[in-house]
């Protein structure tokens, strides 16, 4: 450290101490914090003890501060978003406290202006109770598929004529399997015919209708020990719904900063454009009915516009090829 920087550090420490002695903890903390930033990694030996004291002071102050706020907030009782805000502020969510902790990062298309919410609550969707009420019948249909040894194809499959991009080793991995009733916007008649109660339960659900892309409705099977690594979905203009059908203990789904567990017959609804991962930590298989719905924030006109846009994208053909020898 050069001499002027050492002098600067000495000055900041001295002012911090002066405010601490005068009982102005906030001013003291701000000078001590500036001192630590100024010192960085290279603390000059003569000041090492003072820097250590400054660090200890900041730590004590931080704890006292958190306890003080804790008391004030407990009285306010303002609900889960407020609690989350408070945790973020105190750095308890393990993320940079002043940003969207886990922003939407859809891989294909970003629709702006939407709330950044990992989970939505089932109570907010009028169709949810009806789907949940059909859980037993849906489970029976899924169980029949399992009993007959129906093949659940790997959920992640190589896409023809796209650069190979293995999804964290999940490609062609049977530990994450799928049995589709709708796939990429098309009803799979043969499979749907075998699950009439499931198909009936989904009537009236605002499935995302984007020709050639969505909805997909599938039984999603996670074998014992399977771990779907953190990833982002393609679009943020829909939400993913899970109706849990077979859920042994030890399974979980993390979306952004929040981890939830599947409970039989209770829908989990989440934004898959936020980083998420899942694990079956049990020794039995886990099965959910998975489908995608329009985000409630999108107007009818916006839904139609998004669908029209993807239809247009998929209809895009070659411009005059500017090639050497094609």
């Amino acid at each position: 450290m050069t001499r002027p920087r050492e002098d600067e550090l000495r000055g900041l420490l001295a002012r911090g101490r002066a405010y601490a002695e005068a009982g102005d903890a906030r001013a003291a903390a701000s000078f001590f914090a500036a001192a630590l930033r100024s010192a960085g990694q290279a603390v000059p030996a003569p000041l090492a003890a003072e820097v250590q004291e400054a660090r200890a002071y900041l730590e004590r102050t931080k704890q006292a501060y958190a306890a003080h706020l804790e008391r004030a907030i407990a009285a306010a009782d303002a609900g889960p978003r407020m609690d989350e805000a408070f945790d973020i502020m105190l750095g308890r969510r393990g993320v940079e406290p002043r940003r969207v902790p886990y922003p939407q990062r859809p891989s294909a298309f970003y629709f702006p202006g939407l709330p950044q919410r990992p989970f939505y609550e089932r109570e907010a969707f009028p169709w949810a109770a009806r789907v949940e009420a059909a859980s037993a019948a849906i489970r029976a249909e899924a169980q029949a598929l399992l009993d007959r040894g129906e093949s659940f194809a790997p959920y992640v499959q190589a896409e023809k004529n796209r650069p190979q991009r293995d999804f964290h080793g999940m490609q062609d991995d049977p530990s994450w399997g799928a049995f589709y009733l709708w796939k990429d916007g098309e009803r799979i008649a043969e499979n749907a015919a075998r699950c009439p109660a499931t198909m009936a339960a989904l009537e009236g659900v605002p499935l995302t209708q984007i020709p050639g892309r969505t909805p997909s409705v599938l039984f999603s099977l996670l074998r014992p020990g399977a771990h779907i690594p953190p990833h982002h979905g393609m679009l943020n203009c829909r939400l993913i719904c899970h109706l849990p059908l077979i859920v042994p203990p030890g399974c979980w789904l993390r979306v952004g900063g929040e981890t939830r567990q599947w409970e039989d017959g209770k829908l989990l609804i989440f934004d898959d454009s936020i980083e998420h991962e899942a694990k079956n930590g049990s020794e039995r298989l886990r099965l959910v009915l998975l489908f995608d719905i329009w985000r409630p924030e999108l107007s009818e006109a916006e839904r139609a516009a998004v669908a029209a846009m993807f239809t247009a994208i998929d209809a895009f053909a070659a411009p005059a090829a500017a090639q050497r020898d094609a």
């Binding site: 900041l12 009982g23 003080h68 907030i73 002043r98 650069p163 139609a304």
Partner: protein, 392 residues
């Protein structure tokens, strides 16, 4: 699968290379295929075969060779370029774009790019630019044909298209002090969304009349940013203690400023019906904000996202501008601009006259009453925190 000794394989490859160099690509392809069919070909041999097939004009077999090569080595830049060529020639520009972009990305981080490959990369760069332009035209045309013409789109859908085509990028809230989660990431709110807006706008003339003598006297204005001797020095782009950006407060530290309120009764009364954010000593802040000719407020982020900032433009010469996130708007006298100041924003007065707006902060409409109380309690607690005995 044919058995082939190492020596035989090497001999066939040499012979194939010779055929290729002598302008007999179909013979080269036939020879090299013997090695690939034996299951012993490495990446280089597959690449030679693909080149031979391309020169021989057998697109179908060339693409198969490339697929086999990419299965062996997905990061082969040459193979990715050639595969992209095949897809482009087959009228599949989206697949071609995928392969070309992957090739470009890999080449960008490669230690060395041979000259011939550099030429190929230049060629695909041009193709990508042309294709992106063609794609935008196509998208515009198709959307219009499907009843989603430019003027009829919701602003956020239009913004999604601009982001999709790379013309804009998304911005997120990054408050400097306090983050309230799960809120919409909206740069601007529209004045029509607020029931109180119209009545306040109707007062613009009266408010401006109250402002004029204050400007002439100047005394009540002070630099917007002032230094605090009890905090380590920081200077925001030279604007601290600088009268280029000045303000006169009607509410400060959460309370009315009596002497200024006395001089601006209509302005003060006009705000009665506005849901000003009440957050301890932090808000509301209501002020006339005076930006001198040529002044610029560089890009920055506000302190907390529990509120929105409102500007009622009072004196606005031409040549002023205001950016929030990826959108630039202009102040228009008497028309409110309402925005989220925790999204990066900046302002400028490139005119030769003064610009003055009335600034105030309102609660975000998404916050429930309980949440507003929670935020207020939190900041009262924060600002009430002095010495709890931690000082040693």
């Amino acid at each position: 699968m044919n058995q082939l000794s190492n020596a035989e394989a090497e001999r066939i490859v040499r012979s194939g290379v010779a055929s290729l160099q002598q302008g007999r690509p179909w013979e080269a392809a036939a020879e090299l295929t013997k090695v690939t069919a034996s299951g012993r070909a490495n990446v280089q041999i597959w690449l030679l075969l693909a080149h031979a097939l391309r020169q021989a004009g057998d697109s179908e077999e060339e693409e198969k060779a490339l697929d086999a090569l990419l299965a062996l080595e997905p990061t082969s830049v040459r193979a990715l370029v050639m595969k992209g060529d095949r897809r482009a020639a087959s009228g599949d520009p989206r697949a071609a774009t995928g392969f070309y972009k992957r090739a470009r990305a890999l080449a960008a981080v490669a230690e060395e790019v041979p000259d011939d490959l550099r030429i190929d990369l230049g060629r695909i760069e041009k193709w990508l630019a042309e294709t992106e332009a063609a794609f935008r035209d196509h998208l515009e045309g198709e959307l219009t044909r499907r009843g989603v013409a430019a003027g009829s789109r919701s602003p956020r859908f239009q913004q999604s298209l601009d982001i999709l085509s790379g013309l804009k990028r998304p911005y997120f809230q990054e408050p400097s002090d306090y983050f309230f989660p799960e809120l919409p990431q909206r740069q601007f709110y529209e004045r029509e969304e607020f029931a109180w807006a119209r009545a306040l706008e109707a007062e613009t003339g009266a408010i401006r009349d109250e402002l004029r003598p204050l400007i002439e006297e100047r005394d009540g204005f002070r630099p917007y940013l002032v230094s605090n001797p009890q905090r380590p020095p920081s200077n925001f782009h030279g604007l601290v203690d600088n009268p280029e950006w000045s303000s006169l407060y009607l509410w400060d530290r959460g309370e009315p400023v009596a002497e200024n309120v006395a001089r601006c009764p209509r302005t003060f009364a006009g705000l009665n019906a506005v849901p000003l954010a009440h957050i301890g000593v932090r808000a509301p802040v209501v002020m006339f904000s005076w930006l001198r000719p040529g002044a610029r407020i560089p890009a920055h982020n506000g302190a907390m996202n529990a509120r929105l900032i409102c500007h009622l433009p009072l004196i606005v010469p031409a040549g002023c501008g205001f950016r929030v996130g990826n959108e630039v708007r202009e102040w228009e006298e008497g028309r409110l601009l309402i925005f989220d100041d925790t999204i990066e924003h900046e302002a400028w007065n490139d005119s030769e006259r003064d610009r003055v707006v009335l600034i105030f902060d309102v609660w975000r409409p998404e916050l429930s009453e309980e949440e507003r109380k929670g935020v207020a309690a939190l900041f009262e607690a924060i600002d009430g925190y002095a010495d709890t005995g931690a000082a040693g």
